[in-house]
Subunit: 185 residues, 2 copies
Amino acid sequence: MFTVFSAGDIGAWRMTRCEAARGDGLPAAARLAITPSDRLAPSSQQPPSHQLWQLAGFASNVRYVERAEKTALVNVQAGLGRTEATCAALIPIKKSAAWWDLTQEERRDIFEAQSHHIAGSMTYLPAIARQLYHARDLGQPFDFLTWFEYAPEHADDFEQLVAHLRQTPEWAFVEREVDIRLTRA
Amino acid sequence: MFTVFSAGDIGAWRMTRCEAARGDGLPAAARLAITPSDRLAPSSQQPPSHQLWQLAGFASNVRYVERAEKTALVNVQAGLGRTEATCAALIPIKKSAAWWDLTQEERRDIFEAQSHHIAGSMTYLPAIARQLYHARDLGQPFDFLTWFEYAPEHADDFEQLVAHLRQTPEWAFVEREVDIRLTRA
């Protein structure tokens, strides 16, 4: 039920970049492994010696999309694991206390009416597949872990998508962000 | 970060009732212990021998209340642990797949516009204090665990509140519900 991202010497993805986009970064590693788990190590516990760090989250029900958006997304989005999608990104972010003090409809207003998070991202589908994992409720150092997969010919599209999101009003609430890029090993 | 409810021979609450309200029930126990935990046992694992069952959840940000409701709730609600609140209830519920297929605004419409979950509950504040714990994202057998505390003279109010919720359109989506009542030991 949890998805665990482990940075170290093993894993199906080779880490090509690991940069702090805002706030503290994370140590770069050679590889990243993604594993399902039904138990969660206490966040105070050190990861095994062959691992530099571990982040965990869970996929959940959608929180912001409305019905027409959900239908459009289901029709156009691609799944993870496509053979041609040999590029990936893991972008952990932590939002501010001010964000979490907002109510659902206030967050939705910033997320979509002001920032066009869904509509803006939709133009990059199905080229860029993504999966959101929730981490805040697990006491993790980040609130969200988003995993993206795309083919090398869509690398420029992915840079545009990331640049679009970073200049939105929503991103004013992001206080920590790490940008991790990977290729299939 | 997790709150664990353990039914067995130990704990600060004496179990006075443990009934299936819908679907399968849970075994009755003598006591219930409530403990914080930063680790989560796999749901496949048996609880320790002195425990009959264990349920875990996490408190989280509000999902449905709007700003005016949030302000009203903050102004009127009482915290847990009041000396006079010697009665308690733990009501674990599981909602149907149909509920989780709905979008946020569709759930909000059923939750409040149709079922008056917030407005209806508000009339019982501050007499009845409550805390919601989310469990679905932890792979638990229930989606939500709600904990209520009240003084004995408000026991009838609590019955009214529970009866009100059970006849709402929202409750048509509840496929399992257990009703556990307790007194402070």
